[in-house]
Amino acid sequence: MANTLFDKVWDSHVIEKIEDGPDVLFIDKHFIHEVTSPVAFVGLKNRGLKVMYPKRTFATADHNTPTLDQHLPIKDELSALQVKTLEKNCNEHGIDFWGLGHKKNGIVHVIGPENGITQPGLTIVCGDSHTSTHGAFGAIAFGIGTSEVEMVLACQSIMQQKPKKMRINVDGELNRHVTPKDVALFIISKLSSSGATGYFVEYSGRVFKEMSMEGRMTVCNLSIEMGARGGMIAPDNKTYEYIKGKEYAPKDQEWDKAIKYWSSLKTDEGAVFDKEYNFKGKDIEPMITYGTNPGMAIPISKSIPSSETSDSKTSYKKALDYMEFNEGDLMIGKKIDYVFLGSCTNGRIEDFRVFASLIKGKRKSDSVDAWLVPGSHKVLKSIKDEGILDILTDSGFKLREPGCSACLAMNDDKIPKGKYAVSTTNRNFEGRQGPGARTLLASPLVAAATAITGKITDPREII
């Protein structure tokens, strides 16, 4: 029978199928962080349980941590307690913890892949919705709640209804200066922020085939923003090359065995999806959001659509009121106060290369505050090793230390009330980047162009 990539990986991990109920799904790798794990450990303690397979769980501190002076104790008491609690829980249960200052520390979805933990064919979960990132390697990866974190710690399994299957095919070639972020925002704008709810997505077609692993991660990362549990891309030579030699990658004979298995991980000819979409790469332009969910995105050169195009006028108007934008407004030229480069969506080395390529030889606008936050210490090291830091410094930019930072504004990195931020992150929800903050999601290239001019700028105009 012809199977999809998703079926192959899911079905091979089902321990039990409950009639009129969920599947019991075995979990290969589990990531935890300081914010969604403490209550799970309290649950374990209350039930008198131990972690079943501590070496299958990896811990990092990223969500609430400062991005300046990480060598000093965390000033915020509650954040410090969360990080300390995670460290204590990991020590008690024998889980590897990569805390602040550790050379493998960073955003959970950046460090998994860069250390070779993320591999094709695995089931990967984390108490964070952007776990979908790891699907770029042909893994089934998705975000879970804290009750499920407790299940994985206690039983290395969770109970999940098998989602429906969707394929999104983008064929042809991308226009110049259109990045993976634009591809993802384009797709979400077509499907809406709930268009893939209940589905697991496979991305296919030439555009993804030719995309770098970092780009594939950006696309899979944003799957949740159209409601999908996750997204995945069939592994290929690019995937193997990325993993090879990394610390947790299979070695020697194990590597050969792995490649053999990984090569089988693709959707068979004739396999059936519950829903399919087809787009053309040439139709995609640099994108930007104008509202308060990621589905409210348009090509950067266009004006804000009329509320008539929305099926919920009240919610649409509420969003524009929050942003203080009007229907018909052009996006280009709007004044911007902050630029944020970073997050599990666009905080990898490739994103910093792209940003640096545009700003090189130009000056940051004095009217813009720019926060540049690498996704991990490894990314930070590459930024320095590749000379990107010099380019940034010469153009008037400063670099911060790794973490989730202003993507969710749990630490001190909050965009002030009423200010506009062009952000390479994943959510433009009300208050996401700080109470009252206004977020416009875009690619690292659009962020770079905007940082130079102080207003929304089409990168194609100044490259």
Binding site: R47, N64, D76, G145, T197, I224, A409
Partner: protein, 198 residues
């Protein structure tokens, strides 16, 4: 037993007629800094409930004294965004036991069922009827019958049947959770872990 058994609930309801409510609105990230599950209800819908100096915003339904009860009626695509279970803890801690919408985000729905909040998906037209009933009379009573899988607008004597898997229904009505189930499967799980290489 992980939470209270759910049988029949009769209650008035609180309307929140906004679409695409994300979990950052249900509980903003800056209130996720706890290491124990308590007190989240105080910050439920924090930035819609209070302005920046902490004063209650009268127009927000939770601050409207006409509206109370254990049922929250929400617009479509409720609970999208972040997977934070804290959102459901806040809803539970505030006193809600049922959330009704015409469409729920996936992870949010799972999180609800895992801690004993019943997410009820109804049709768009039935959701409109519920909102309009509360609009007419904020004291309107609603009944949730888990056994029959019915949501009833008492005054109109109108009902809609909702879906829930037999397994989850069993959990809700007995107060069990998934860990109770999985703990009985540990032998199967370890056998599976040992044979499964990748």
């Amino acid at each position: 037993m992980a939470y209270d058994k759910f049988e029949i609930l009769k209650s008035t309801a609180v309307p929140l007629n906004i679409d695409n409510v994300d979990t950052d609105q249900i509980i903003p990230a800056r209130f996720l800094k706890a290491t124990e599950r308590k007190g989240f209800g105080d910050n439920l819908f924090r930035d819609w409930r209070y302005n920046s100096d902490g004063k209650a915003i009268d127009s927000f339904p939770l601050n409207n004294t006409n509206y109370k009860g254990k049922i929250l009626i929400a617009g479509k695509n409720f609970g999208c965004g972040s997977s934070r279970e804290h959102a459901v803890w806040a809803i539970y801690d505030y006193g809600f036991r049922v959330v009704v919408s015409s469409f729920f985000a996936d992870i949010f729905k799972n999180n609800c069922l895992n801690i004993g909040v019943l997410p009820i998906q109804v049709s768009d037209s039935f959701l409109l009827e519920i909102f309009s009933q509360i609009n007419k009379n904020s004291e309107s009573l609603f009944e949730v019958n888990l056994e029959n899988q019915e949501f009833i607008i008492k005054e109109l004597n109108k009902k809609e049947v909702f879906k829930i898997s037999l397994y989850k229904k069993g959990n809700m009505s007995n107060g069990y959770d998934d860990i109770d189930y999985l703990l009985n499967k540990k032998e199967d799980i370890s056998r599976f872990a040992n044979k499964f290489i990748f």
